[in-house]
């Protein structure tokens, strides 16, 4: 398979610095609203601060890939005496939890690094430098280059739930006339 050079964007999370304000959640939901900034709602955010304040746990996690099935190996981590939930650091949008699902439809949400902006808005709005934007070049397989848009991620989830045929039928009914 042909290799191409690609800019990989990611967010490094320095969780030790997190003070739990959730500004990242707010600005994310606001930026991704239509029209842009027309609302705010942390429940719609593609970054969530996993928090158990009394146990000193604040971990910002940004939404990764959608997956239709739960994973097998659920791990527990104890770090510096703190026990993190089994899914504590996981970025996947999976059936085992409510995280990163659009509250109205339940469809998966995925971080898009605020495409078009200089850097992701959560990074810009975290005034305490918990979130650090990183860009690096990597060689990747050409095929992987495809990016799924928001709606495609949602459709993929619907296809997983109802089957592609039913989804097709529904779409063709809706697009008649």
């Amino acid at each position: 398979m042909a290799k191409i050079k690609k800019k990989i964007k990611t967010i490094k999370v320095d969780a030790d610095k997190c003070n739990g304000c959730r500004s990242c959640e707010i600005i994310c939901s606001s930026f991704h609203a239509t029209p842009k900034y027309s609302l705010s709602n942390p429940a719609r955010s593609r970054i969530q601060v996993i928090r158990h304040p009394i146990q000193d746990i604040w971990v910002p996690v940004f939404a990764g890939e959608y997956t239709p099935a739960e994973c097998m190996g659920r791990d527990k981590y104890i770090i510096n005496g703190k026990e993190y939930d089994e899914c504590g650091f996981c970025r996947a949008v999976c059936p085992s939890r409510d995280l990163f699902k659009e509250p109205d439809s339940g469809l998966p949400l995925k971080c898009d690094m605020c495409e078009g902006e200089e850097k992701p808005l959560c990074v810009e709005w975290c005034l305490n430098d918990v979130l650090i934007f990183e860009e690096r070049e990597e060689e990747v397989d050409e095929e992987e280059e495809q990016r799924l848009e928001d709606m495609e991620i949602g459709l993929e989830a619907l296809a997983d739930k109802y089957g592609l045929d039913k989804l097709k039928e529904a779409l063709s009914r809706m697009t008649k006339d």
Binding site: S23, S40, D56, L127
Partner: protein, 656 residues
Amino acid sequence: MRYAETGYNLEIDLATGNIERVETDPKLMELHLGGLGTSVKIHWDRVPPETTAFDPENLMVIATGLLVGTPAFSCNRTIISTISPQTGLLAYPMMGGFFASELKHAGYDKVIIRNKSPKLVYLYINNDKVELRDAAHLKGKGAVETCELIRQELNQPNAQVAAIGLAGENRVWFASIEQGRSSCSRQGAGAVMGDKGLKAVVVRGTKDINLADGAKFMEHMKDITAYINFRNENPLPGIQPIMAGIGSPQEMLHVDEAWHTTGFAWGNARVRRKDFWTEEIAKSWETTQHEAVKRLISCYNCPQQCGALITYKDVPAYFMKCFSKLTYTMAAYVEDLDFAFRIAHRAFNYGLDSFSTPQVLAFAVELYEAGILTDEDMPGFPPGNEDRFYYLLDKVARREGIGDILAEGTYGAARKIGKGAEKFDHNTTKKHEQMNVKLGMMDPLYYIMYATNEKISITQIEGNWPQSPFPTMEQREEFVRDWPQLPDEKFKKYFLDWEPRGEMANPYYPTPDIASEIVDWMDTIHNIDDALGFCAGMASFCLKPPYHINNYWKLISAATGMQVDKDEVVRKVKRSRHLHRAYNVLRGMRRADEKPPEDHWKKRFPEIEEKLLDAYYKHKGWNNDGIPTRKTLEEYDLGYVADELERRGILKDGQD
């Protein structure tokens, strides 16, 4: 569609268990904005002056600020208003944290609670699903503990909980409502909640808050963010560290407490210890604080970190913020900061105001030492300062023995105890414990603020004007050079003219008229914050803050779609302010009550003080008894208030 606000309140009748979601009149936002403003209107309309704190008809209104839930940094206030058992006036303690935003995202601007539940319950709000649940198993549980227990029992780790502890259940007049990391503390709102049989309010919300012009709103926020970053990198020069930054005083971060410990009064607000802060103390306190503070933490959508997670030795983890680090320590005359991190945990779990409580306990210790309270009143009263405070704290929260009397606060307890105890109640105004400060020369600004503030709490009116004049003209010129927060350029001259000594110094300057202008501005911006939900630490209680009288209007316009300018915002807030004053006047408050503590300053000037009140009342549009005149009320569309004051014979027909 409603913008910024949700447009709905929850009405809860605890006697019948009836729950209603009620759409609010959009006109109310136009008249009073939201938060405290619209809450005052509810109390005026629905709770007559005959109603006392523990009557079923007393409402407890849990309100969110108008801009809470928008992307505006540090806008997260919950304002709980109710008739105070201590003062008989409208109490409105506020808290930061995460409760108000969650409530708004659940779809409600306010929760209005009336009547009493026959058994202990908690209210669970999960978006549209609202229910009262049995809380028998939580009876007597600590407030902080209760928050965690409820989250677990509902399997809602992200729900926000505001709960009372034993003190609230027992109707201690200075009981607080605790949210784990913040609290509504002043004037006994926790006692009212306990009296209503409500252990906690739990909320989870996942709905949108809409903005009328979000893009514009974010443009303004960009400017404000740049200023926040600037101020965090550049503390104000020549100001003590605790006041030089933005946010609430950073008591969890800063270890240098020279200013508080040598400038404020110890014990029952008695003694200034000017030589307390030695190198040895500084070292010991720094070690203890660093051991206790596990992590600095923020409130919802705030870049500052005024709170902390405390994990100290064998004390269970809890949260602390601000001045509670010092109040118990100083009131008990304990020099080891270890005590602060231990007793605060117990006090927060009881759900007690860490401002009033230490003063009440110190007052009891003084009465014991003076022989007014004896071993008969306090069997087994220990000799050590720390043990005495734990002893009294337990008694008060449980209302056991002497604690049952002390539970009414310094003023109330002094009158119940008698035998000269009244003389030891020397630091209250309108029956409420004041800041533990005793100073030399009467200060015109602080005179007016202590006397007239509707919250009866100095930190809720002071803040934007430096506490004392700067010694040199160079310093003053430097300070006024960049001061866009001022309402008018002429204030710069007031500051330049203000001298530490002589004719242009306290008590003669600022003159009554100038002092009135300065205090009225600060009073107004506090009230704007309380309507919008901004943390005072980022606005009205902060020197040169990010939010101020010249930029609130931009955010309000963009968020709500209601086009307002600076003057219109001030007008709306003053409307609520006059209504608030009139409401307390209905409840009996008069000029005679508007007095800072007798010994607040050594040097008093009765003639000047009278002139200060005369001038301030006049400036406010109130008559000489501190009552809004009909003319003023009508000017602010409050003719119905004037009618009511006249009907009750408080304003005389044809006068004013």
